[in-house]
Subunit: 436 residues, 2 copies
């Protein structure tokens, strides 16, 4: 049985490696142990980054169309300046008053529906989701969670138990029920199906004496293979969980901060207002920061009694860094760019006429391309998908794989990408697909 489900990861012994790479891989294994994975059959060694480009040890450029952390482009000068400047003035925690975190909270909350009026700060997406689920349990008195069947929400003990994507060696919590991701392209009523599945999961939890605490979904279903349409399909499920005493947590670690184009947050595409929203990856354009936006009634008792302190969460440097990220998104009109360049990328991908492409899904600059095989073009084909990703890497273009069957190309260009970057990408992709 294959236990490790990391898509697009390096398997030792399969490809012949450059000597310098081989030596470094062996150093990593010796020092960092067996838990770390490298990407690609032929792993990459990067030395510097600038905008949408990464550069290897020979200063060869790679088009980074797989980055939702350095979402504003690598080493964005305004963010680096804000970080460096604040780090040289004061780096301290939320037990002292500092204007930075007040200003940042104010700016961040302006981007949310008014019901979501408190901001809290953590360091990683895992920490944000862990806190959200702790708060959900405390608020509802429930212990049950509902997730999509190949969800990834993080790596703390609680959250790893809510991350089906981690594979069979990481058992799901007994209090978790999974529902099929809303991804079946033959289903004409995805919203209805998804709602019915969530209702069935609630009933099953209840039947086992487990009170529901929350439905938690990544609102772009990144690890499930990218499920975005039709907008609105989440609304019925959100209504269902609330009817049964649970809350709705929107995990915006992947889709947040303008990634989905039309709206700043993925949940807005579904016309729902979550009870808790979690934030992460692109929040600091590389600086370790994450957070949680919450309705005041949900956090009231937890806040008064359990309190929350995180040594680094909401520190003065994180606040300066986060503010710079919001400024850049605003000043460079990256939401509009995500929408426009995203539309163009989706169109170009859809126009690729190849029978092995079953579907192009996604919103804004977060796209999934499903690769299949067989006479009916219905069987997932991870082998072809992996070949495409690895051959792109040889052509110095970076994307990756996702989905339960690892047969979906995952394409996440930086928010600053322009139509000409898309043209370059599509040009290389066309050649690669023709060759395979």
């Amino acid at each position: 049985m294959k236990l490790d489900t990391t898509p697009n990861s390096f398997t030792p012994g399969l490809a012949e490696l450059d000597k310098g790479i081989e030596r470094r891989v062996s150093q990593r294994n010796r020092l960092m142990g067996p838990a770390y994975r490298l990407s690609y059959a032929n792993p990459l060694h990067f030395v510097r980054g600038e905008g949408i480009w990464l550069f290897d040890q020979d200063d060869k450029p790679y088009l980074d169309f797989y980055n939702n952390v350095a979402s504003l482009g690598h080493c964005h000068p305004r963010v680096v300046e804000a970080l460096s400047n604040q780090a040289s003035i004061l780096a301290t925690n939320t037990r002292y008053i500092h204007d930075g975190i007040i200003d940042y909270s104010e700016r961040l909350l302006e981007l949310f529906p008014s019901a979501l009026s408190h901001a809290m700060f953590t360091c990683s997406g895992s920490e944000a989701n862990d806190l959200a689920c702790r708060v959900a349990k405390s608020y509802t008195g429930g212990e049950g969670f509902i997730i999509s069947d190949f969800a990834y929400h993080g790596t703390t003990s609680l959250i790893a138990g809510l991350s089906a994507n981690l594979g069979p060696s990481m058992p799901l919590s007994p209090n978790v029920r999974t529902v099929p991701a809303p991804i079946d392209r033959n289903d004409e009523n995805i919203a209805h199906t998804f709602t019915a599945n969530v209702r069935a999961a609630i009933a099953d939890l209840t039947r086992h004496g487990i009170k529901p605490a929350a439905l938690i979904v990544d609102s772009i279903f990144s690890s499930d293979g990218v499920c975005t349409d039709p907008p609105g399909f989440l609304a019925g499920a959100v209504k269902a969980i609330r009817q049964h005493g649970g809350i709705f947590i929107a995990d915006e670690v992947q889709p947040g901060f303008a990634r989905t184009g039309d709206t700043m947050w993925g949940f807005e595409r579904h016309k729902v207002v979550p009870d808790i929203v979690t934030l992460g990856k692109p929040m600091g354009n590389g600086y370790p920061m994450s957070g949680m936006i919450v309705r005041p009634e949900i956090i009231q008792d937890f806040g008064a009694n359990a309190r929350y302190f995180n040594t680094f969460g909401g520190n003065t440097v994180a606040a300066a860094n986060g503010l710079a990220v919001l400024d850049v998104i605003h000043d460079e009109q990256l939401l509009t760019n995500s929408k426009n360049t995203g539309h163009y990328l989706k169109k170009r991908l859809t126009d690729l006429s190849d029978e092995r492409i079953a579907e192009v899904r996604g919103a804004g600059l977060f796209l999934g391309v499903e690769i299949v095989e067989g006479a009916d073009a219905k069987t997932p084909c991870p082998a072809t998908a992996a070949k495409i990703v690895n051959e792109l890497r040889e052509q110095r273009v970076l994307i990756s794989l996702t989905g339960k069957y690892e047969n979906v190309l995952k394409i996440r260009p930086p928010l600053i990408s322009k139509p000409e970057d898309v043209d370059y990408f599509i040009g290389v992709l066309e050649r690669v697909i023709k060759k395979i």
Copy 2:
């Protein structure tokens, strides 16, 4: 019942606040909600930091004798330079090869006994302890944990359940047993007592059908009130947990990185070699980074099957930042300074002759001063302790409180502190104690 057990935290309405502070407190509450606490009866607003000093909105300096994050001094220029420089070159993750994390792992591991040969990287102390406990469960097949009775190990869901210090509103996990902290000054054989208590806890877990996974302790028992003597008292307990199939996790988030003076890590004072060591707070002198050092046999199966990825853990900027911290500790001889200045501070504190001081405990630059009252000078006196801490704050000197009864002054000067800084601190403390 008092649910909130945050020592030395601001209580609204008790003190009259400066208008600017009051406005900011109210903004924080409105934006960040009810879970955040500020330190001191009269909270502080800091604007900049330099070395051992913090400066408020009027540029008034405060002696920061309560900092084990900016342990090399606030805004240490070499660390800020390393951080700024690497952030402007490349900030990316461990799925690509980068020399920084290889070099940092090598340098970090040189500081540990050779049996501890793998380094893994996370963002916060909570994440490091959560990962350590996940690995302990996976390796031992056990679910039971033993902690000290006022332990604090972090805030993830799992780790909050192992943090008795969080108070009655945060229930301990049913799989946890607590043992009294090794703090009884009338006990002539602390090692024997502590070992016997751990053995009893193991027996109780086993009696309930719970297989022990780990004994986890902060090796300076910071939240228990600082327990350091006699060195070696941990050894029997470590032997006991191993005899029953569990492992020993040394939480070095507080005592690590030269803090305890004689040795780089707190566990070394006890002549034990842990199975897992967790690291945090001062690791990046303010940059959010933490980690776990582990014996290879413990991580073998978990690494191969469950894998571990943390978007920000071990990123290129963290590595550069962490290397700079190790360089500064080495080049400025901060271990020696921690020992020497720590000895001097302990002597000066011990020489304060006041019947309300029951005991001075600690090692290196991590000291606890127990405050008592009553004719027999045995009753913990949190009120006097709080008065001292708050009056020191009015005199612009920062320390805090710790211990189950919140009656222990917690003093953690930066590692760069000199005897003249100690003289200044003791001078102010003497005046304050006399006045109260």
